[in-house]
Symmetry: C2
Amino acid sequence: MEEKNEVLVRYLGDLFSRLRIPPPLRKAMEYMVFSSGKRMRPVLVFATYESLKGDEGTDRLLPFASAIEMIHTYSLIHDDLPAIDNDDMRRGRPTCHKVFGEAIAILAGDALLTEAFRVITDKKLVKGLKPGVLNRIVFEIAKASGAEGMVGGQTFDIVLQGQRPSRRRLRLVHSLKTASLIRASVRTGAILAGARGFTMERLSKYATYVGLAFQMKDDLLDLVGREEIVGKRLRKDHGKQSLQYCFSLEEARRRLEGLVAEAERAIAPLELKTDLLFHIARFVAEREK
Amino acid sequence: MEEKNEVLVRYLGDLFSRLRIPPPLRKAMEYMVFSSGKRMRPVLVFATYESLKGDEGTDRLLPFASAIEMIHTYSLIHDDLPAIDNDDMRRGRPTCHKVFGEAIAILAGDALLTEAFRVITDKKLVKGLKPGVLNRIVFEIAKASGAEGMVGGQTFDIVLQGQRPSRRRLRLVHSLKTASLIRASVRTGAILAGARGFTMERLSKYATYVGLAFQMKDDLLDLVGREEIVGKRLRKDHGKQSLQYCFSLEEARRRLEGLVAEAERAIAPLELKTDLLFHIARFVAEREK
């Protein structure tokens, strides 16, 4: 997947270089997209497709993997803003608004979100794919990132601040804020591989568990991780629907293991061409950043 | 068009009411969408379609007109933010962040932008339209609102502050910030009416001039309008690429007339079923708010 990642970064660089846009906007967009993120979501697009169809012709996944990474990046830029999470560090570097100012950070987020939808409907970039497939993917990604998905989750995260934390509320936030776009990544890979019915249903289930596990691990790292490895300020979730008020560390780790096991169980009945998706589920739980 | 507007408002209300989302997010989205805007862009979607195809079956334009209005609204919410234009009043009411706080205003903008793309690819809402047509419209709208369109224009507006104003720079900002989404509105109506070639080219030209005229008039109102009619704080464009540094009032008014005349000339050779588009071009220049 390392190699895929490099191809993706080159592709994104090429996309941005072709945009005729004001230099500060370009720099702010590139700054965060090219920082050392895990690129979990594009990796899931590739891994899902390859699990079903093998390693051939994966270049045509690039616009979709890029679009999802752009949307993930926009969400980080906006979440870091002073009015929202007010974070100064991300991936070991100052956050976007610290470098470019708040106005440009807001606009860079807006641009990344909008360009994501342009990229996946640009005829020059998505040659040979059926328009019906493209529509399904636009819908899938928009629904996952919008009011009933990621943005809704971020809103709950804010409005539930100060309210008594509960496991139900924590799961709601995790599910919308994080799992929904991870689910859309897997489903996008699956749609492009022509998956339907049982396969699609199992992969969606897998993705939901992986997404929940991912955020559970994020919260755990916030509690016990090392700032110099994780690359951002930690232990700042006070007042939010946070893990620590709902589970002991021991319980949380057990719960995380449980989610990974559920993810694995979801795809166990499928005949997959690689065990990438199993590796990813493991990685999500074991990562140190 | 009054009647169309009421249908649109009901349709948008229905769209929002079906979203299962956190109440503050819903309220912030509705607050600005349902304020008394001119709804120029949806009106242009309808008027363009009707000019080519007549008044039948215009209900199927609703998702597209709604999406464009949602995108326009998100841009107002984000532009009004303290970090950008720092405006307190809009359409005679406190701006979104004044009522709901900055965090919710940022997220409501993000949600409106994202939901716009969901709405126009939601099978339940866009029945009977070819996927290829939907793709073209997603692309058209995304390109017009993104880094090479509206967001790019807003960025130029910020980064050119303090630089010597020039007519070329002013036109660049007007063209990207305002004309591009107005152009996408006309082209969306035209695409849905099956327009091509010469007709599409002429309508696009019309829309560009109407868009430039619209922003020219906005700048004029900023200089000579009455706050209680326009509904927002005026005479605040100092330091921006503003009309007043490039033209005398007399010149600006003549220039505005010239743009309207160009718009009319662009569509004069077309055989249109109504003169709505001519009326709209006139309205843009003559409006008092």
